[in-house]
Symmetry: C2
Subunit: 406 residues, 2 copies
């Protein structure tokens, strides 16, 4: 039996939708990756009564609750008080945390403001979890075999604290889970139904736990098993049945995998984007260290910019801005202009306007110019909203580049 977990966020800004709850997705991924069965996410208001009530409801049904948000210094932050109310315990003061706060403020030549003194309090039945990434104290409470953990809601603090203090704590408490071994498979260019069909029904048995996670043209498979031998067998099967689609055996995203290959081969990349308008470059430069292999790009939105880059005016007139020939020329020209090993060119119609019966919204041409001077182009018609078409086109371009260099 897997232990069960729930994620409970506190915050009116989440309820009212001014913040998207990425914390819940992060913890959902981490906890289910460890082998917890995550059975609920919840969000409740910044109110002692709401926190007390919801904590009680959830705690009856799960082994582990991770709460987040409402641990700040302002009066609307009442998660400490709500949890203490549930357990009918007072809040107590931590001199150690207070001297930590004093140190932080001293660095800026300031004294701890009266408001912030609240940050040194925690429920009497809790143990502090030190936050090295901000001023809010986290804490954990054990009630019999059940555990409640409270963390700050700022995503970067939450994630840093998760790896710094929560994961080691869970390792100690749920040692059994950590005996599970994990197999990760990352794929590009294949759909979820096709992955399932290629794996086949005979692939599955009771010796492992299987999860499949599609997102923006990529697929991740995560498998947990007690025995390394089982995973070894599965890995062989997967490598055979999904040959040609797998770009990695860990969590590294495609853009980073490409970056590593290019860095190793001392090759570089440049991109000329029309309909994706910077999405591809932004995806690549979101990765730390991108400057080692990404030389730069051109957003060739207006026809003049395409011409300036080296796409002949005549070609644009004859074939149209959205054509295989223009994608090819964009790739070729940006590679030469930026002095890179590879050049990617993308042109298409992201919509919602600009489509016609011969060139519908979603039509995208991708060109890839290689170090030997050759260029290949591909044609796609992507389905969806403007941002989905831009997203899928960028992913597809990365996939073609990966196939070329891997």
């Amino acid at each position: 039996m897997k232990p069960t977990a729930a994620i409970l966020s506190v915050g009116n800004e989440v309820l009212r939708g001014s913040v998207v709850n990425t914390n819940a997705a992060f913890l959902g991924r981490e906890l289910s990756g460890l082998g917890f069965e995550v059975i609920s996410h919840g969000v409740c208001a910044d109110s002692i009564e709401a926190i007390r009530f919801r904590l009680g409801e959830v705690l009856r049904r799960v082994d582990l609750i991770i709460m987040m948000g409402g641990l700040g210094p302002t009066p609307d932050d009442v998660t400490r008080e709500g949890i203490a109310a549930h357990f009918k315990v007072p809040l107590v003061f931590s001199p150690r945390q207070y001297s930590q706060l004093q140190k932080v403020y001293k660095r800026y030549g300031k004294r701890v403001p009266a408001l912030v003194k609240r940050e040194a309090f925690y429920p009497e039945n809790a143990r502090p979890l030190v936050n090295r990434f901000g001023i809010a104290l986290g804490f954990s409470i054990e009630i019999g075999s059940k555990i409640v953990i409270a963390l700050p809601g700022v995503p970067s603090e939450l994630q840093n604290m998760y790896f710094d203090v929560v994961l080691p704590f869970l390792k100690k408490k749920y040692g059994n889970l950590f005996k599970y071994k994990k197999l990760i498979v990352k794929m590009a260019g294949i759909s979820e139904p096709d992955v399932m069909k290629k794996l086949g029904k005979d692939f599955f048995d009771d010796l492992f736990d299987f999860g499949i996670y599609p997102s923006a043209g990529e697929i991740a498979i995560r498998i947990l098993a007690e025995e390394a031998a089982v995973l070894g067998r599965l890995k062989k099967k997967i490598a055979t049945r999904l040959k040609g689609w797998i770009y990695g055996w860990d969590e590294t995203p495609l853009s980073v995998v490409i970056g590593k290959i290019l860095t190793r081969k001392k090759q570089t990349l440049a991109a000329a984007e029309s309909c994706t308008g910077g999405f591809l470059a932004a995806r690549i430069t979101a990765c730390p260290g991108a400057s080692a292999y990404f030389r730069g790009g051109v957003i060739a939105y207006h026809a003049d910019v395409k011409t300036d880059l080296g796409v002949p005016e005549k070609l644009i007139k004859e074939r149209g801005e959205v054509s295989a020939q223009v994608a090819s020329q964009l790739a070729k020209s940006v590679r030469i202009r930026m002095g890179s090993s590879f050049g990617i060119g993308i042109t298409g119609i992201a919509g919602p306007g600009g489509g016609s019966s011969t060139k519908p919204v979603g039509l995208v041409y991708i060109g890839l110019a290689s170090p030997d001077g050759t260029v290949r182009t591909w044609k796609h018609v992507f389905w969806g909203e403007r941002y989905q078409i831009q997203d899928k086109a960028a992913t597809k371009a990365l996939e073609y580049l990966w196939r070329k260099i891997c």
Copy 2:
């Protein structure tokens, strides 16, 4: 008293974090904008028992529940069954919905697959809500004064159905709410505490409902009141006290406001980005119609690309790639190269590596070249992770452009 609402998603993929729950944020924003008090979000598993149980828990405490997800054709989609189990009613068949499905499939020369026949079923006590954007039927159930609405989980379908059928339905059922009038204020370049300080304590009274929503360097205020005269008075006060920060009085985002001004003035824009690596261009080209005013951009990542664009090598050597002079030259050069009215140049250190004591991670210079040939530059040190620094720098650049053209 405001009516209360809850948002309940169904789906293992959400629990496991392979999907971020943007639906909940969308509905949270919409419902609280209408005047509902959204008191909880929840996510439960694809299981009849989990849905039945959680629906029961939530329904006791709110007036309106909007559920989403689990209405697809595959066997793991059991929201229909879970809701029917809660109300102890059978599922019934809708011949009208089935003939709708037949029409959709006929368009592709196909017959309705056996699996998909499930899409024509709904709980006996429900009324169908027709989905013109996909094959999953939505439905609403009224129990005394309480209402449960079930919608498909695909974000674009959910949003389209919300405006198409849910909003008119809510208007009929909660006519009282729709007598509220709304005042929206959008600001850039000011922090939430500063907005509150400038409004002052005497701004607030019991005649209206006030919400403030910061995100990535922009602030939205949403105010609801019964009387138009109250909103008129508030609007005057806000216009005076927050003068110089307000860029709009409706939901339009800054990038679209800028696009509208440029289009009206027949002016154009180009951008040369180093540390933001395409984020700014992607933000601009995410708006439909951007081709009317955005000519293109250069992602000048490598020093050579900066030189090629027109930044003198000597300047880079003397001042460094991250300097006011390079930002200025990037703005000037991209404006000339792309033949645009305005040019934006951004250079900085997004981190996590590459910082030093004199040029720390987060240091960003922004340059803005104007039609008269002049250039202004600004220096900032942004705090946060790599993507936050890129995000804030892009927003700041948009703010400076807006200040120049508004």
